[in-house]
Structures are given as C-alpha cells and as structure tokens.
Subunit: 285 residues, 2 copies
C-alpha cells in the first residue's frame, strides 16, 4: 500500500518532491506562451486545464507532452493515478506551486493540473461519408467560446465531425478547449476551404443545409436525409450569398421579439438537435 | 443644416467640445466601478456598451443616467442623433477620449459609446399568467455569459419572462449584458425563491417542465400545454431532487458520445425552441 501523501516516485526524473516555483522555468514559460496561436503552431502543443480534460485526452488517444501538477493535488490517489497514466503516455511531469498554476492558467483560481497535449490535424480525406450521419460546418466562426461550445454540442448530439471553413478561430485556443469541456478531443475537426467541403459532400452524397435568415423552411420542416451537413454562418454576417446558393436547402429558425438573431452556439445546438431528431435520435444513450 | 463635425450643443452642460481625458474624473471612476456588483447595487446603475444596446434601452423605456461618447464618434450623424435622444431621456453626456473608453470597458478595442442605465427590478406579482405563453426559470445559474445568452434566446424565441431562482449570477453584470446583445432590456427578469415561483405557477395554472438527466420524456414528447414554464438547473449540479419532485414532467435531451451534458445556454435554447414548436411557433415574424 502506497502512502497517498508521499510524492510519486519519479515525477520529473528529478528528486522526488522537487517543485518548480518560478515562472522563469523554461517549460513553464513555454506553457504560458501557449495562449498565443503562434506559439501553439511552433510547438505543436496546446493547453488542457484540469483532470477531466486530461482524462478525455487519454481516452481518445491524444499524446500528452507536459503536465504541471500542484503538490497538494498529488496527495489525492485519483490525481496520482491520472498523473501515472499521463506519464506512461509520454508526458513529462512537473510538480509546481500555486503561483505557477495561476501564471500558466492566467486565472486566480486555477485547476490543480494543467497539461500540454500534442495537436492532431485531420484533413477532409480522413472523413468518410460512407455510412449515414450528421456533420457540421462553421463558416468563419470568430468566437472561441462559441467554437468550443459547438464542439461540445456536436459531441453530445452525435455529430461525426466539425468542418472549419475559411478564416476561423483556433479550436486549440485555451478558451475554445475550455468551452468544449474536453469534446475537442472527441469530435474530429477539419480546417478546409469551401471548395474542398463542396467536393467532399458531393462525393459522399451528403445533403447540405444552410442556416440562414433567408431560409424558407423551418428546422422541423427541412429534409435532412441519411447524410446531412449543417452549415452555420459567421456571428456578424452569416453566410455569403455565393455559399447559400450552393446549399440544398436554407433553414430559418423562427424568431420574434427585438433580438434579431440567436447566439451562434445556441442556433447550432437547435439545428444539430433537429437533424438528429429527424433520424429519431438513433444511437442515443 | 448642422455641421456634423461640430460638437453637439450642450453635451455635459459644460463648454461644448470639452473632453474628459482622465480616468480620475469622478463620473468615469463611478462608471468603471460598475463592473462590481456592490457598486451596481449602491448606485442602481449598470453598463451597456455600444450604440446598439443604448438603442435597445431607449426602445424599451429604460432610463439612461450617463453616456460616455468618443469625440470621433460624435462626428457621425447617427451617433449624434442617438446621443441627443439619450440626453432627452435624462442622460448626462460626457465626451471622452479613447483611453477613458478603454478604461471603462476594460477592453483594448472598446465601443465608442458606453452608457450607464438605471436598473429596473420586477417582482413575481408583475407577471401575469392570464394569457397563454412560455416562461423560463434558471435555478442557480452561475455563469454570466450563459445568463446573457439565455436572455437573448428567450427574447428571440418569444419567452415572456425569465425567473432567476436562488443564488444566481447578476443579469446586470457587464458580461451578462454584453452576451444578451440588448435582450436584457427586452426580456423581463425576476429574482425570487423557488417557493414564490411555485405559488406563481400554481395560481396561474402554468405547467412546469424540468430539464434533467433523470427525465423520462424527450423534448419533442413532452406536454407543454397552453402555459408552460421550463426549469433549467445549475451548470454543475442540475436541479436538486426536491425541485425535480415538484415538476409536472422531467424532460431529457437525448445525448451520445463522451460529452455528459450540453452547455446550459445551448440546452436552454433547445428546450425553448421545442416549447415554442409545440405551439406551432405562434407569433413568429
């Protein structure tokens, strides 16, 4: 039986119990810099805060590179177990103090464990439309909170993948990862241009439904078919006319009152829900 | 014809064109402090950033107290017109520079107009359930972004009012107001305890549907009736069992994948959409 208060045996390959307390440590500095897209692109790493996200990353086979863990947290058996599995999956473990966790998370009340995972990129050719299913494409989504929330909804509502079309915000930004609640690890994300999306969905016989103020049918009146792709526009300007022209159907969520639109993530949730409802929630738990 | 480049006649009751450039000006200091709930409660004021929110406030008859406006923005006829209407509605107008706007908004890229409006509070007795309709109650909602997004959805999807039950975040926080996109002015909000909500809805014969993981019916299988109240739980813990026990029906949004829940605002959007769909989107534009 291991004493749960004892530091784990070889946390950093250094003296057990050694703790990094300085924000000028080179690994800590690198992890702090991952808030910037440039640094994420150069290192191929991104931050996942908290034990839950680290569990999701491992569950879906993503490779952890570094883990910062508070020494207090290591006293808990569950955290020790998670840290051992992260180490076995290739992560370098660093014990840190609260100041370092606050510095990396840029929050006053940080999670007691912060990981850096290796990014994974997928391309259109990785996605098969052979079986039936539902997909979502976001046209120039700009808000990382919206993007993360949409990845979470896509995961929960059984969407097979999310396409990011044109100039979108980064799904690996800390804010997007946080809002996704770990679904960034579960939901495949593909960056591509609209022409590539069009080729993919035509080859796969996937019906494309655009959400638009110009839509003539309600979400519950649209034809989703066996394979459907829901296309959502930019927060400010929606879909360009040329893109709307390529859709098989334009769908308009009914509205009243003074609000002239729903939040993008809320509208996407309603569309994903309706597309799944049309398939009688097949595969629901 | 007025020269659009000329400062408006009596912007602050002071010399036309006078501009406040210091964050230590007492009105500017007070407005900066409105980010804190304590200050909002003491002054009865809250911040609304941007021209669009100020327009919404006026449209729904809320009283503006102060308006900070950038001098460049005043060169635009549309802004001058809005500022005149805000002044006529009782606001004191202060011309400020960009540094002051950044300081009050706490953003690098601030709106060129920031208003402080007088809060309005409503009580349960202000809400009549005589006609048919849909209402939403949020049980201990904690995230101001979620609350603002839900107010926006409620407005767009024809919900008559939103109840905040127990210890909720503040609908007048800058983050909630921002996420509401002005719907905080349009959608009546009532703070009360669960017992008061129960009395109100029983007296009005309003059916109460709780969104819950323990629900036995899907959103499209629930009975909403002519008057329905959708009750949504806290982001972390959902609804307490004692509250679920009072509901006429518990509704569960189908899910799959590794995400164990939807974002609260997304789930609320789906529920509001379904409740309105059950009434055939009556009153939609």
């Amino acid at each position: 039986v291991t004493d749960p208060r004892k530091p784990i045996a070889h946390p950093t390959g250094a003296t057990p119990g050694e703790s990094i307390t300085s924000l000028s440590n080179s690994t800590v500095k690198m992890m702090r810099a991952l808030e910037r897209k440039k640094e994420r692109q150069e290192t191929g790493l991104f931050l996942a805060e908290g034990a839950r996200l680290a569990e999701e990353g491992l569950l879906h086979g993503w490779r952890p590179a570094y883990v910062l863990v508070g020494q207090d947290a290591l006293a808990r058996g569950r955290t020790r177990d998670l840290v051992s599995r992260l180490e076995a999956a290739g992560a370098r473990i660093l014990q840190v103090n609260r100041k370092v966790l606050e510095g990396v998370s840029r929050k006053d009340n940080p999670q007691t464990l912060v990981s850096a995972f290796h990014m994974r990129s997928r391309s259109v050719s990785d996605l098969a439309a052979d079986e039936g299913g539902r997909w979502v494409a976001l046209y120039e989504v700009r808000d990382p909170g919206n993007l993360g929330t949409i990845l979470r909804s896509a995961d929960a509502l059984g969407v097979r993948a999310v396409f990011l079309i044109g100039s979108c915000c980064d799904p690996f930004s800390t804010e997007a990862v946080r809002a996704s609640m770990g679904s960034v690890f579960a939901t495949p994300v593909v960056n591509c241009d609209f022409a590539a999306l069009e080729r993919w969905r035509r080859e796969g016989c996937v019906r494309m439904l655009g959400a638009s103020m110009h839509g003539a049918v309600r979400p519950d009146g649209a034809s989703y078919g066996e394979r459907s792709l829901i296309l959502m526009g930019n927060e400010q300007s929606g879909l360009p006319a040329s893109v709307e022209a390529e859709c098989d159907q334009l769908v308009r969520i009914p509205m009243r009152g003074s609000a002239d639109s729903l939040n993008l993530a809320s509208a996407s949730g309603i569309m994903m829900y309706e597309a799944w409802r049309a398939q009688n929630f097949e595969g629901a738990r």
